[in-house]
Structures are given as structure tokens and as C-alpha cells.
């Protein structure tokens, strides 16, 4: 019964989305206030209906209602509650329902918090947002209905993929979807602006929080996914350049570019059409990501629901929305007149370079991801594009970005003298070079790439600190501290975000340069020395989990002779799914992780791999700090106060025409 209710509200939500797509857009075109105003309540209704539908599916999973084919295929009564719930989105149909839930949530938030938008723009934004909703409701209802019943329900289900039964991965998809779908908001704003035929500073100010929110969710989502891969896949890699990872990375890169150039629109009213184009592209890459994950045309470790028919549907959605938006862009972008003017050396120019490198790096990831497909279709060559390509082709862009970032971040708007910016940054540069040299000395014989990036990381963090300090002006230290505290949160967000980027680079550089590895057959009770550690496999025994059996090792680790920890690496077997998994045991720390993996029995012992991974946690710590920077910036009062102030200002006549 609840299931039918969920199905029914989903159909109703679809109907409402059609209404919300047509009525406000017509109203905005004709200038009918009532029709425009219909968008708000419709957006709320759409969200509530979808929420009921999602709740119904969640109830079916929680109560293990095996009359639903989706629950049967992805759940099991013995599964822990957390994974019963995360099982809702651990499959194609359910994850799509989560997708539309988030889509309607964003639409409704735009209606709730968009009170200070001009009514016409608001109606258009909500109308376009709802058009995306129509497409995805149709997708889910016609090709991927989660509410299908089984005629003969089985006694128990087929269990969720054991790899997905993990806390890190339980929350990874919702964050990613919040990011992917959040970019639909930027897209809706861009298309609405094209329909309006104008973009001004206020538009930049409205679109930025949505982009910022989407970007920070993507940051957290990608970070969670990478952390999961690190501890779960068993060899401590944190990024594999897998197509599905790339699918989430591409929108991240574009949205990072977008949120930077929206600042230019907001502060300087230039680069308008470029910003619009980026907003369209950002959502385009979200859709491409959806296509990659769900169509199965590109082989990946974790693609799910490989169904060509669904792939075609996503491709259709992609074609309609990108085609339509680009057409509109071609017709209208010429009307976006720039107001601000800037010289070749200026903050604006630095942000242009930032955008260029972020966008091209995204394109490199894109072409690398689809090249095997293109080569097979057009060149008749079956080839692979793997991590070595991406490392070689992508890294130079990050190098350039990291070099120019602290300089660009401090350049004044309009026209600047580069020497004036370089002077305060000089100590940072010296520190960075010293750090790189030190790193090179320690890593003697290794590639110079790691030390270079360690130096760059120091450069980024030092640059962020110098930037913040320079904002406090001159005078006594007490005055400066006072000013520091009162700086706008956006400034703090910028510093924190850039420093977080530096910390992540540092972690990546340190792990790839200084990681050490030991592989051996360990016999029970025998100790071996590995670096500063003495390691003993003391015991291996069988342990029963709720829905798996496990072979669990006990590994004593001594650091410089003093006991550090007893680690318990596991090899699990999930009988229902018939799948084994490895659970690495990690002794985490600020300066290093000790990472132990249990292998199979051989030659009277067990294969045991031990890694020392220096500064591994900084990779995700940096990502969290980046996201915090975004959050800080998002909470800046300018987004609340100034947006309202603009409405008052819009009334009087005599404001110069653009």
C-alpha cells in the first residue's frame, strides 16, 4: 500500500513538474504575474510529493519488503540498518529517485530563499529547473521504476554489493548528487538570464551561492569516495582515474572555474557570456557523468546498472538541454555587454587564466575518459587510457594553477603592478623553495615531481596567509588583529579554501613520493622490522559478522620499540552475495598512516602487506578544509543583505542604462 502511494506521488510530482515548466515560463514571457507566481507553490508541492515517494521506498527497504523487485535485488534481512537505508540509493532506480528528490529540493529552496529575486527571473529560473525535473521524472517513470512489484516474493533478498556496505560509501552518493544536481541551479540561472537577455552584478551574486554549495558538496562527495577507495580497496590508492571518478571530477573542475568567474561578474560586471557558458557546461558535465555511470559504455570498476537503453535516454536528456542552452546562448550571448574594463595585469586577468587552466584540465580528463570509446568507434583500435596518461597530461595544469594562485589572489582589480604583489609574497616563495629542497634531500634518488609539489603546497598555504594578513592593512598588531576578525567571511573562505587546496596537494605529493611498502609471508609469532616499526602477526582467527564471515588477523605494531597499536586487518566473505572483500587495518596519524592488509595463507603463514603512508590524511583533511572554506564563503552576509538591498535600489528611475 505504502509502495503504491510512493508510486502514485511520484506520478503526481511528474505532473506538477510539467505544470511548473509551462505556466511560469509562459507567464514570464507574457508578463502575467499570477502565472509567474504559480512557480513557488508548485516547486514546494513537487518537493513534498517526491519526498513522500522517497520515504515510501525507504520504508520498503527498512522493512525488507521483498515484494518489491528492487528490495529483493539489493537488500537482505540480516544487513545492518545503516546499509538497509543506504541500499535505497545503492542501485540505479533508487539512486535516480534520490537524484530527483535533490533536484526538487534545490528547486524548492530557490522558491523559498529566492524572495529577493525579480519575479520574472524567479519564474524563469523555477520553470527551467522544473524542465530538468520533467526529463528526470520521465526517465525514472518510463525506464527505471523503483516501485515494481514481484508476483512471487522470495523469502529473502540478494543483498547489497558488499563493497557498498561501508559507512564511507553510504554517504558518498548523497553528497555527490547534491553537487551534481546543485549545478542544475546554476544552469537554470544561466538559461533564465539568457531568456531575460541580461546579466548584471546581482545575477552574479545570486548564482554564486548555488554554485558554491554545489562545489562544496562535490568536494565532500569526492573526498569521501577517495577516502573509501583508500581504506577499502586494499592497496591504499586514493585516486584511480577511473571513468566514474572522472565523471565526478569534471563537474568539480568546471564548477571551481564557475564560482571564480561569477566573482568577476559580481564585482566587475564583465566576462558575462563566459560565465553563462561555464554554468551551462558545468551542468552538461554533470549529465555526462550520469551518462558514463549509468550507460555502461565505458568500462569502470564501479559502474552500476549497465543498460544501453537507459544510456540512450540520458544521452537524449543531455542533447536536449545542452542543445537548447547552446542555441539560446548563440542567439543571446551577444547582448551581454561588459561594463568593467581591466588591464592585462589584474585580478580579472588572473581569474581568466584560472578559468582557462581549470577548463582545459577538465577537457583533458574528458578526452582521456572517452578516448577508448572514440578510438574503438572511429579508429578501430582497442586501447586503454589509464592513470599514467592522466598523471602526465593533467598534472602540468595543476602545477601552473598552483604557481599563479597566490599571486592572482592578491592582484588588485582593474590594473595592477605585479611587483607590488610579489614583494609581500617573497617570504612565502623562499619558504616554498626551502621546503622543496628539503623534500628533495630526504627523497634522494626519487623523481623531483614530489618535492616540487611539496614546495608548491607550502607556497599555496603561505600565500593564503599572506593574502589574509595583507587585508588587515597597516598599524599596530592589535588593530590588525581586530580587523582580521572583522574581515568579511568571504575573505576568510577564500583563504581557507586556497590553503585547503595546498594541504591536499601536500598530502598527495608526500604519499606518492615517500610511501614505502613491504610484502612478505608472515608466520604467526614471528616479528619483522620495517622502517621504524617492528611488526608481528600474532593471531589469525575466524570471526562472524552480521552478514559475513571474516578471517581476522591481529598484528602488533611497535614504533621505535614502544607498542603503538594492535591492528586487525580482515578478509571478509559475504555468502549471500558470494563476494569476498578485504578490510585494511590502519593506524592513522597526522604525519603517517601504518596500513596493514592481510593476504591469503601460504607457505605456513599469511601474505601480509604493510605500507607506511606519510601525510595520507592530509589529502582528505585538505578536502574538508576546502569545503569549510566554501561554507565560510557561503555564510557571508553579503549574500543575504546586499541581495535585498538591490531590490530597493531597482525602484528609482535614473539608474544609468547598461
Amino acid at each position: 500500500m505504502i509502495t503504491e502511494l510512493g508510486h502514485f506521488t511520484l506520478i503526481l510530482a511528474f505532473a506538477v513538474s510539467v505544470f511548473q515548466m509551462v505556466v511560469p515560463l509562459v507567464g514570464a514571457h507574457k508578463g502575467w504575474p499570477e502565472w509567474m507566481a504559480a512557480a513557488g507553490p508548485a516547486a514546494t508541492a513537487q518537493f513534498l510529493l517526491t519526498a513522500v515517494s522517497f520515504t515510501a521506498l525507504t520504508i520498503a527497504f527498512v522493512t525488507s519488503d521483498f515484494s518489491l523487485s528492487l528490495v529483493t535485488n539489493n537488500s537482505h534481512t540480516l544487513k545492518p540498518m545503516l546499509y538497509k537505508i543506504s541500499g535505497v540509493w545503492g542501485n540505479h532506480e533508487g539512486s535516480l529517485l534520490l537524484w530527483v528528490l535533490i533536484l526538487t529540493l534545490f528547486g524548492a529552496s530557490a522558491a523559498w530563499f529566492g524572495g529577493n529575486l525579480p519575479p520574472r527571473l524567479r519564474a524563469r529560473v523555477l520553470g527551467v529547473q522544473s524542465a530538468i525535473g520533467v526529463a528526470f521524472f520521465a526517465f525514472i517513470l518510463f525506464t527505471s521504476n523503483p516501485f515494481l512489484r514481484l508476483e512471487n516474493p522470495p523469502m529473502n533478498g540478494g543483498d547489497l554489493n558488499p563493497l557498498l556496505q561501508d559507512p564511507g560509501l553510504a554517504f558518498h552518493p548523497p553528497f555527490l548528487y547534491l553537487g551534481y544536481v546543485g549545478l542544475s541551479m546554476s544552469f537554470s540561472f544561466a538559461v533564465a538570464a539568457l531568456l531575460e537577455g541580461r546579466v548584471d552584478a546581482a545575477w552574479g551574486r545570486w548564482v554564486r551561492p548555488w554554485t558554491l554549495a554545489a562545489w562544496l558538496f562535490l568536494t565532500v562527495g569526492i573526498g569521501l569516495g577517495s577516502w573509501w577507495a583508500y581504506y577499502e580497496l586494499g592497496w591504499g590508492g586514493f585516486w584511480f582515474w577511473d571513468p566514474v571518478e572522472n565523471a565526478s571530477f569534471m563537474p568539480w573542475l568546471i564548477s571551481a572555474a564557475l564560482l571564480h568567474c561569477a566573482i568577476v561578474v559580481e564585482k566587475r560586471e564583465t566576462l558575462k557570456s563566459w560565465t553563462i557558458l561555464l554554468a551551462i557546461l558545468a551542468f552538461g558535465f554533470s549529465l555526462i557523468g550520469t551518462f558514463i555511470v549509468r550507460s555502461g559504455v565505458i568500462t569502470s570498476v564501479h559502474a552500476f546498472a549497465n543498460d544501453p537503453e537507459r544510456g540512450i535516454f540520458v544521452l537524449l536528456i543531455l542533447g536536449v538541454f545542452m542543445g537548447g542552452a547552446f542555441l539560446l546562448f548563440a542567439l543571446r550571448a551577444g547582448a551581454m555587454e561588459a561594463k568593467g574594463i581591466f588591464g592585462l595585469v589584474s585580478r580579472e586577468s588572473a581569474l581568466v587564466v584560472n578559468n582557462l587552466f581549470l577548463v582545459v584540465s577538465c577537457f583533458v580528463v574528458f578526452i582521456g575518459t572517452i578516448w577508448p570509446l572514440l578510438a574503438e568507434m572511429f579508429l578501430d583500435r582497442t586501447l586503454s587510457v589509464g592513470p599514467p596518461f592522466f598523471n602526465a597530461a593533467f598534472t602540468p595544469f595543476i602545477f601552473v594553477l598552483a604557481v599563479i594562485l597566490p599571486i592572482g589572489a592578491m592582484l588588485p582589480w582593474k590594473r595592477a603592478k605585479i611587483a607590488r604583489v610579489l614583494k609581500p609574497l617573497l617570504p612565502g616563495a623562499v619558504l616554498a623553495v626551502a621546503a622543496a629542497l628539503l623534500a628533495y634531500a630526504i627523497a634522494s634518488g626519487q623523481s623531483a615531481l614530489g618535492p616540487v609539489f611539496i614546495g608548491l603546497a607550502v607556497w599555496l598555504v603561505a600565500g593564503a596567509v599572506v593574502d589574509l594578513a595583507s587585508r588587515t592593512g597597516r598599524g599596530a598588531i592589535g588593530d590588525r588583529l581586530g580587523r582580521l576578525v572583522r574581515l568579511p567571511r568571504a575573505d576568510w573562505g577564500k583563504t581557507i579554501g586556497h590553503a585547503g587546496f595546498g594541504l591536499t596537494l601536500f598530502g598527495i605529493a608526500a604519499v606518492t613520493t615517500y610511501q614505502t611498502e613491504d610484502i612478505r609471508v608472515a608466520r604467526i609469532g614471528e616479528s619483522f622490522t620495517f622502517g621504524a616499526y617492528e611488526i608481528t602477526l600474532t593471531d589469525v582467527r575466524q570471526v562472524d559478522g552480521p552478514n559475513y564471515v571474516s578471517l581476522m588477523g591481529s598484528v602488533e605494531v611497535l614504533e621505535n620499540g614502544t607498542p603503538l597499536a594492535t591492528l586487525h586487518p580482515e578478509r571478509r566473505f559475504y555468502p549471500v552475495a558470494g563476494m569476498p572483500t578485504t578490510e585494511a587495518a590502519i593506524n592513522g596519524g597526522v604525519t603517517r598512516d601504518v596500513y596493514v592488509v592481510l593476504g591469503e595463507p601460504q607457505r605456513g603463514g599469511f601474505a601480509l602487506r604493510t605500507y607506511i603512508k606519510p601525510f595520507a590524511n592530509w589529502i582528505w583533511g585538505g578536502a574538508i578544509i576546502m569545503a569549510l572554506g566554501g561554507l565560510m564563503s557561503l555564510s557571508d552576509r553579503r549574500y543575504r543583505v546586499a541581495a535585498g538591498a538591490r531590490r530597493r535600489r531597482a525602484e528609482p528611475v535614473g539608474v544609468p542604462a547598461e
Binding site: 590508492g237 584511480f240 578516448w371 589509464g386 564471515v549
Partner: protein, 152 residues
């Protein structure tokens, strides 16, 4: 039942990436073998190198790589041998030959193009200043607006 499961589990357990018994005694050769393995794709896996893979076939390839190295092959010879045997599909780093040049050069070419376009755009819009664009002094309306702000 539990014992049976454990037995099943051990039977089902995959070979686990590089095994201690595969490794060469010479650390220099072994390091070279690892480096080569990281660049070769496992043929039956979805997107893993043979160094990471659990598949039986990946193990065979790992052993083959080591065999060739022990026989005195260079890194390039060893990789060429595997490519001749299994095709260019095994290369995780696609070669820069023929149409693959497009793949390798796309990024650098786009950056150069983008830099050229950006400099052109910035120069052009900076010149607009002479023909009635934004100036450093405020317009009448801006002054009025400024007064209004200062009053608040």
C-alpha cells in the same frame, strides 16, 4: 556450516595482487617489475593494472614480466613483448602514435589557443576605454548613488 563457509571463502578468495612468492630476490629487478606492472592493464578486469589486480590472468602476466626481466630484457623490450602478444589494449599509457597524438596534444593545444584568445580579448576590451567605456572618474548617477549610500 561456519566451517563450510570458511572453506568456501578460502576457495573463492582471489589471488591477491603481487604475492610474496612472485617477487624477485633482486630488489632492483623487482622494483622495475613493479613499475612495468603498474603500466599494464589486466585483460579480464574492468580498469585495473596487473599490479593491483586479483585475477589469475594478471598473476600470469606479472610472472611473465618478471621472467623477461630475469632473462635480461630491458623495460622497453619487456613492454613491447607484452604489447606484441596482447595488443595495445594492455598499455595504460597509450602511445603517442597516429591518431593518439590528438589525445596527447589536445590539452597543450587548447591552452595555447585559449591563451591567445584571452590576451586578444583582454587587449580589445581594455581599448574600449578610449571610446566611452568605464573611466576612473564617477558618472553623475554614480555620484548620486554614492551620496545615497553614504547617507545610510
Amino acid at each position: 556450516m561456519k566451517r563450510l563457509l570458511l572453506v568456501l571463502m578460502l576457495l573463492a578468495s582471489p589471488l591477491w595482487a603481487v604475492q610474496p612468492d612472485e617477487m624477485l630476490d633482486d630488489p632492483v629487478l623487482e622494483a622495475r617489475a613493479r613499475e612495468i606492472s603498474a603500466g599494464l592493464r589486466c585483460l579480464v578486469c574492468r580498469n585495473e593494472s596487473i599490479d593491483e589486480s586479483n585475477a589469475e590472468l594478471a598473476r600470469d602476466l606479472r610472472l611473465l614480466v618478471r621472467e623477461r626481466l630475469v632473462e635480461g630484457g630491458t623495460n622497453v623490450e619487456t613492454v613491447d613483448y607484452i604489447v606484441a602478444r596482447d595488443g595495445e589494449y594492455v598499455l595504460l599509457r597509450p602511445n603517442a602514435q597516429g591518431a593518439n597524438l590528438l589525445l596527447w596534444l589536445a590539452g597543450p593545444a587548447l591552452v595555447l589557443l585559449g591563451l591567445g584568445l584571452s590576451v586578444g580579448f583582454i587587449r580589445k576590451q581594455a581599448r574600449r576605454r578610449d571610446v566611452g567605456g568605464e573611466t576612473d572618474t564617477l558618472s553623475k548617477a554614480e555620484e548620486a548613488r554614492l551620496r545615497e549610500i553614504m547617507r545610510d
